[in-house]
Symmetry: C2
Subunit: 98 residues, 2 copies
DNA sequence: GTTGTATTTCGTTATTGTTCGAAATAAAAT
DNA sequence: ATTTTATTTCGAACAATAACGAAATACAAC
């Protein structure tokens, strides 16, 4: 766990929003073809964020590189899910260093 | 407490280092004329950080603006101290939003 | 294999962050 | 009052981030 990379990933309101939305996909996103077990389809996140696809895609890449979300590809779709273990790990790490 | 401002202040390794050093001033800084109760003299922090005075001064200003440290001026010196309440507040806030 | 849909990567622009040295300010000592 | 010491602010250079549209890639369906 690279604390610096993770905290930089979190130092952006859009990325924190995305992580928060992924906590309760049923509440935050309208229905999708696949159950939310697999995560939320990136297209839904693009819509919700109100920014261009490419911008949101970049944000998702930062979150993934930091390990805060995991992805699963099904067909042509990519599903994003919170990595609860990594998030808990960050909270523990920042509590210790701070 | 402006979570965005605080997390941006923390998204820099030098500033996190400074906060960490201020946890145990006796261990991290050599003696100073005033007791560490008042905080650590900025000059000591300049030395420790190994960056230019102006750069470290800017980092300290960011920490103070975010509320993570408080300052006390005695004579021509400025002493910096952790704001434990704000730090605990941040930890609680990030735990809740994340 | 061509078309259509989903997503990412690329190139660009604008904004913000980091760093420095030099100048400015503040307070104390001579 | 001038000098010395401590600190901050200013101005400039460079790096990193955020945003967009357009081009490229991936995959499925026809």
């Amino acid at each position: 766990m690279d604390l610096d990379e993770v905290i930089k990933a979190l130092a952006n309101p859009t990325r924190r929003d995305i992580l928060a939305w992924l906590k309760t996909p049923e509440a935050e996103f309208c229905e999708q073809s696949f159950p939310f077990e697999h995560g939320v389809c990136s297209g839904k996140i693009f819509e919700r964020a109100g920014l261009s696809q490419s911008t949101v895609s970049a944000h998702l890449a930062v979150l993934q590189k930091a390990g805060l979300v995991s992805t699963q590809k099904i067909g042509q779709w990519v599903f994003y899910k919170r990595n609860e273990e990594a998030i808990a790990g960050f909270l523990a790490a920042i509590r210790d260093t701070l």
